[in-house]
């Protein structure tokens, strides 16, 4: 039976694992940037100063300035907030939807399972970017819309894994026992099944988070996401793409940060999977 290993033990094993330790460090750095943005960033993210536009990286402007003379370093530091917030929010919504449906599908076999699985398969098969574009078309561009769109299209990862896990657990002694002593279905799902899913949910979350960041920045890049002057990394990158020739630094730095952040979470997630649930296929 899978049970959530103690936090201390998990952490200890993460630290021993070289790559996941690196991932943990990266994630922590991004978290620090996000939390301390207002202290770390030398200027405001929306502060325009056209006289000093398009300056290359220097001691004063670490990452240079953009077309409106905004300090790119400050924008990227504030951008960490947005990336993290978006990633967490998307993952949370996805987990909420996906886990609920997954447990229900696994627990009730028959028509409920069939219906949920059919919907899951359909959503799963659809390219998230295409679906998200559709959603954004209807509710208009904006970060919130993108969060909803991405979450609405990527939850099947959770559903599939939870369904499979619940199916393997549902005939186990402790569940049968719980049923025998008259626990309600919802109580069995919440108090007996859910705790057993936690390690897998944690792993899936860590691995889903970077792809959520990648998708939202992609939609921002296409112009459907964050609205100016929001320092979303994808949006900064899109602005920089037009200046790729005369000011390549504008497009370079946000890209580097997206890669590093996604890499950090992926490494961490891989490590967590090895520790908590090595058989998990994601």
């Amino acid at each position: 039976m899978l049970a959530l290993k103690s936090f201390k033990e998990t952490l200890l094993r993460l630290l021993q694992h070289r790559t996941s330790f690196a991932g943990l460090l990266i994630v922590l750095t991004i978290v620090v940037l996000a939390i301390g943005a207002s202290v770390i960033a030398p200027r405001g993210y929306a502060e325009t100063d056209p006289v000093n536009r398009l300056l290359p990286p220097s001691g004063q402007y670490f990452f240079g300035t953009d077309v409106l003379g905004r300090d790119l370093f400050s924008r990227i530091v504030y951008g960490a907030r947005i990336a993290l917030w978006v990633g967490l929010l998307v993952t949370f919504i996805e987990a909420l939807m996906g886990v609920t449906l997954g447990i229900a599908a696994g627990y009730y076999s028959g028509i409920v399972d069939k219906a949920i699985s059919a919907v899951t398969d359909m959503v799963w098969a659809f390219p998230p970017v295409v679906l998200a574009l559709g959603v954004v078309t209807v509710i208009g561009p904006g970060l919130t819309q993108v969060v909803v769109a991405i979450a609405a299209t990527s939850w099947p990862a959770f559903t599939r894994i939870c369904r499979a896990k619940v199916q393997s657990l549902v005939n186990r002694e402790f569940v049968l026992a719980a049923r025998a002593i008259g626990e309600t279905d919802s109580s069995i799902m919440a108090r007996y099944l859910l705790p057993n899913l936690m390690p897998s949910i944690l792993v899936v979350s860590t691995l889903v988070l970077p792809s959520a960041i990648l998708y939202t920045t992609a939609l921002s890049f296409l112009g459907f996401g964050a609205q100016p002057p929001t320092p979303d990394w994808g949006a900064i990158l899109a602005d920089g793409a037009a200046q790729l020739r005369i000011a390549p630094w504008i497009a370079t730095f946000p890209g580097v940060f997206i890669v590093i952040t996604a890499l950090g979470f992926n490494l961490l997630g891989d490590g967590l999977r090895d520790i908590l649930d090595p058989k998990l296929r994601i």
Partner: protein, 322 residues
Amino acid sequence: MATPILSVEGLRTYFYLSGGVVKAVDGVSFTVNEDEVFCLVGETGCGKSVTSLSIMRLIDHPGIIEEGRVLYKGKDLLKLPESEMRKIRGREIAMVFQNPMRSLNPVFTIGDQIAEAPMTHFDVPSRDAWKTAIEFIAKVKMPDPEVRAKSYPHVLSGGMRQRSMIAMMISCEPSLLIADEPTTAVDVTIQAQLMDLLLEIKKRRKMSMMLITHNFGLVAETGDRAAVMYCGKVVEIGSVADIFREPLHPYTQGLMNCLPIGTQRKKELEVIPGTLASPVNPPEGCRFAPRCGFAMGECKLHEPPLTAGGKDRFVACHLYRS
């Protein structure tokens, strides 16, 4: 009369996990003689399967055979180059695994999988190998060998799969067959048939057999000699008759007391108190000491070596020293 075919000396196999080092086999020594059935007995997790895999050098990452010697017909298998070792596997020493459901490759037919070994070891063309396969399928008493040869494992019953497994392993006529819990995963009714089949083949081919089991009943029925393992160590070796008549090691005694043997009706079956010692942090001294009713002060300090406890008998216990 006893010529050793395989002797294992001081074998240690450790698994390096991120949680610590698992000393699955920690200094195991025993000898298997020609034409005998040697049993390796112990509870699940005592290291008996790892011992057999170490003999075949089939230990996977993250496990490592740390030290020891495995002498097969005088050659130390652990020192052979991989290419030489390959010629030993299947050809000289073959192994039947415990889970027939998972030990057959699901995407190839039975015949295909049986024919592979002769093709590799004797370099016979595939058509001849196929005939050999059918022949051996017949030898393990499966009906319709020609049809069976073309079946995929998933259409066969557990017993049939284990027969195919045996056919696969004896197809190169090895000198030693290691059978790792060959009957555990099949129905009780089939178990006896399978065991009979194995013994019959053993007898006919004059093979030696090393039977790995946790089932003392099986040992009593089939074994010539036996070694009892506890927590990565051999605690007692002797002829099966001797061990059953007079178990020396407290652990063996405990195990015997758990068995409802013959007509000796006991009021209650006894239970060994405590749980199996952790192979990661084995207790100091004798590993059985924490569960042992006869434990003395010395037991907690020094590990008892395997010493002679009679004719052809060895035991690792401080009770029998001095």
